[in-house]
């Protein structure tokens, strides 16, 4: 049920139900929440791009964007405005329908996945009881957008990029899924809010599950980086080989959708990691447990940003893998380790060795 008893939405909620019939109010509320999420994550995506550029600059002993606004804070806003005002070009023989559909596919799936995350105790749009399953299912759809985009562009580089993305995502989906299942063994529930409730009493899951949880976390980070098609797994858009990969033929706002979706996907992977391993919006050692006014969403965001920083650290350190190395890593290393790890986790829970 679409109910968010946030303080601010509570007022709006009551007001809407007082002026409209119940159905209309419900639909209006849904629309309002959708717009709020869209706006929030457009801005979040833009600032993640800025963060990426800043972090990249610091890793390379540069300064990064620092001209537009204080410390370059409006740089990505300006970039987005530029992209908005640009012409939407396409080549002659594109499949027009699929070509225009692809960016929306990518951005919509990443936005759907965001709806189930508990950003704080109250701030969760859709507390579904199969949350983890829903996340795995939805986050896999994004690759269809990439495949459609690459296919309909009628460009061999875009095509190769999209096919590589398909290979990569299908392979690494297994590792993401299995490492999540390892943690689900520990929690015994798929509902994200309940997973966090379990961590409130017993400590964060990475502490409860100790060794297998840490291994699962490492595998999840590697496979998650591969899922978002980021370096060192960015074969999809390997600049030196494929131009820009699957979005070679896209311009203007359609390109910006792909670009934003990449960063929102990174946010999603980091959020899953935070919820499943680091206690979601729970404060470390319960230091703000008793403080009612403290915004718990802050803890969630801090943890997510740390994980995102880790992914950026990967990106600006490691060289890109070859396609055979990529598949070797998945099928010969991550997958067997993951399966063994799953059994180890089961044994540990059976013998009651969890903390």
């Amino acid at each position: 049920m679409m109910m968010i008893p946030l303080n601010i939405t509570k007022t709006i909620h009551d007001w809407l139900y007082s002026v409209m019939p119940e159905n209309a109010a419900s639909i209006t509320e849904m629309l309002l929440i959708a717009i709020a999420y869209l706006a929030l994550f457009a801005v979040a995506g833009l600032y993640l791009v800025l963060l990426e550029r800043k972090v990249a600059a610091w890793f390379q002993l540069r300064l990064g964007p620092n001209r537009v606004g204080p410390f370059g804070l409006f740089q990505t806003m300006a970039d987005a405005l530029k992209l908005l005002s640009k012409e939407l070009t396409s080549t002659d023989k594109t499949d027009k329908f699929l070509y225009n559909l692809a960016p929306f596919f990518v951005i919509t799936t990443s936005l759907i996945a965001l709806s189930v995350f508990p950003f704080s105790k109250q701030f969760q749009a859709f507390d579904i009881n199969i949350g983890v399953f829903f996340l795995i299912a939805v986050s896999s759809i994004g690759v269809i957008g990439i495949l459609i985009g690459g296919w309909s562009s009628n460009n061999k580089y875009a095509m190769i990029g999209a096919m590589r993305s398909g290979v990569q995502t299908i392979s690494y989906e297994l590792s993401v899924g299995l490492s999540i299942i390892t943690m689900v063994l520990l929690t015994g529930t798929l509902q994200l809010s309940e997973i966090i409730e379990i961590q409130r009493t017993g400590g964060w899951l990475i502490w409860q599950g100790h060794i297998p949880a840490i291994i699962a976390f490492m595998i999840f980070m590697i496979a998650g980086t591969a899922e978002t098609n980021r370096a060192p797994f960015d074969l999809v858009e390997a600049e030196s080989e494929l131009g820009a990969g699957f979005h070679t033929e896209y311009s203007g706002m359609k390109f910006a959708y792909f670009f934003l979706a990449e960063f929102i996907n990174m946010f999603i992977i980091a959020s899953i990691a935070v919820v499943l391993f680091f206690g979601g919006w729970l404060s470390p050692f319960g230091i703000t447990e008793g403080i009612t006014w403290f915004p718990e969403v802050l803890w969630f965001l801090i943890k997510v940003l740390i994980i995102i920083f880790l992914m950026m650290w990967f990106r600006w350190t490691f060289p890109r893998l070859r396609i055979d190395q990529l598949l070797t890593l998945e099928w010969k290393y991550l997958l067997p380790i993951n399966l063994v790890n799953l059994v180890v986790m089961a044994i540990i829970i059976w013998l009651n060795l969890t903390f």
Partner: protein, 158 residues
């Protein structure tokens, strides 16, 4: 079993790489290499090996070291240097002697290869480190390197 040692070595080398970039990240605020060019115009100094343009240094008596041997003109692969010379009578010995009238340098044609400077036997021309060489009219790119009224330093030809 190289399988497990491969994993171990892989993780070890990855962590080594991350520690290297991590150190860079921490020191980035102090050791940034970026030059914010138009802002630091006054203080920005190019390194010694930078090839801005060819100049002919003159000392305080308005004397240069160019004997007019034309080796630089011959060495230049694209005719950037043009020397207008003349024979004048040397006051001390009374003999006829070659001396330069104008040492013309076309910056617009120069590829900064440095062959002229290598060829010069008396080190009369050197690299300057200036870099703001853009002008509105390309005739301004042709420069006379020897200053008006200058003459060759005594004892250079010996």
């Amino acid at each position: 079993m190289s399988y497990f040692s491969d994993i171990y070595n892989g993780i070890k080398t990855l962590l080594t790489g991350m520690s290297v970039t991590g150190k860079y990240f921490i020191h980035a605020r102090k050791g940034s290499l970026t030059q914010q060019y138009p802002d630091n115009r006054e203080t920005l100094k190019m390194f010694d090996r930078f090839r801005g343009e060819v100049v002919m240094p003159h000392d305080e008596n308005n004397e240069h070291r160019c004997t007019g041997c034309q080796k630089c003109e011959i060495a230049c692969p694209n005719g950037t240097i043009e020397i207008i010379w003349d024979r004048g009578i040397d006051e001390e010995t009374g003999k006829k002697k070659k001396k330069i009238d104008k040492h013309i340098y076309h910056l617009g044609m120069c590829t900064m290869c440095g062959l002229c400077i290598e060829a010069c036997p008396t080190d009369a021309i050197v690299w300057a480190q200036n870099y703001e060489n853009s002008v509105y009219d390309r005739t301004k790119l042709s420069k006379v390197l020897n200053q008006p009224g200058s003459k060759v330093k005594a004892g250079i030809e010996d």
